[in-house]
């Protein structure tokens, strides 16, 4: 049976279309989820896409966290369902306390968009299990508030527990502490990533096909996961 991967649309989401397309190219069925509808429609995993949910008023992701669909996603994530938050989705996962730390204004205050090399640090997550440890990938980054911060104890714990999923290589685009581009929760089912793997899934539109690995990983994870 084809895996069903939900992609949430909030008011202000931008990359929900690309995320759904990436899911389809990876071989799963994308299911569009709506912020105001708490039903998850039988999905096996969820992607929170990039954009500016609710205008990013107050703080990025702060209001989206209280969307009806998020209550269901937080419950499902705590129960083990794979959730990938990309850019604004990463911010939402931090605001929802599914991931530690927070994302703040880029240190240089400039919006940064470029193709970025990342090193995959952890392949033991639902979203990175098809990569090789230490593999370098090329994925677009585009953010104004992508500077990952957490207190030193949290950063040390993330490092010690192998929960830093990806790091920026060849220049840190936003000042993130310890060059962190992506992290995971303790169980490895929830991943937040600032760059955009959904923009690197086709020759025509992306700098590489490296982003596809995140989406094929979740399919492999779902096949292996006990029903």
């Amino acid at each position: 049976m084809t895996a069903r991967v939900g992609v949430v649309t909030f008011p202000g989401s931008l990359d929900d279309g690309d995320a759904a397309r990436a899911v389809r190219i990876a071989g799963a069925e994308p299911v569009r989820l709506w912020h105001g509808d708490p039903a998850l429609h039988g999905v096996d995993a969820v992607v929170l896409p990039g954009g500016f949910s609710y205008g990013d008023y107050l703080r990025c992701g702060a209001i989206a966290r209280f969307a009806p669909v998020m209550e269901s996603i937080v419950d499902a994530a705590r129960g083990g369902m794979p959730v990938l938050g990309i850019c604004n989705g990463f911010q939402i996962l931090c605001e929802a306390h599914l991931l530690p730390g927070a994302l703040t204004r880029n240190q240089h205050l400039h919006f940064r968009n470029r193709d970025q090399v990342l090193r995959i640090e952890t392949v033991g997550t639902a979203w990175t299990n098809t990569f090789q440890p230490g593999q370098e990938v090329l994925i677009p980054v585009k953010n104004g508030e992508g500077c990952y911060v957490a207190d030193p104890a949290t950063l040390d714990r993330l490092e010690a527990e192998g929960r830093v999923v990806a790091r920026y290589i060849g220049g840190n685009p936003n000042g993130s502490q310890r060059d962190i581009a992506a992290i995971t929760n303790e169980a490895g089912n929830v991943v937040g990533i600032m760059p955009h793997p959904e923009h690197a899934v086709e020759e025509l539109t992306g700098p590489s096909l490296d982003g596809l690995g995140f989406f094929t990983s979740v399919l492999k994870h779902l096949v292996g996961a006990p029903a």
Binding site: T104, R105, Q107, L109, V149
Partner: protein
Amino acid sequence: MPRVVVDVMLKPEILDPQGQAVANALPRLGVSDVASVRIGRRIEIEFTGEPDLDRAREIADKLLANPVIEDFTVRVVEADETAGARS
């Protein structure tokens, strides 16, 4: 009507690039005696009944501030001290 004012500031250990950018612009105004600038957010809340500090604290903790990176204070002010009354 009294309002509750919530002041939200980045924690001291969190870098404030906005404040730094403002501080760096001050010499262009001829101001050279400012050591640092930090930027926060002030929120005024008007309750339908009496101002409720505990409720305001809960609102601030859950929504207005992100306790991971920000501190907040709450206080009641009379209407004529609020920005809305001045404008």
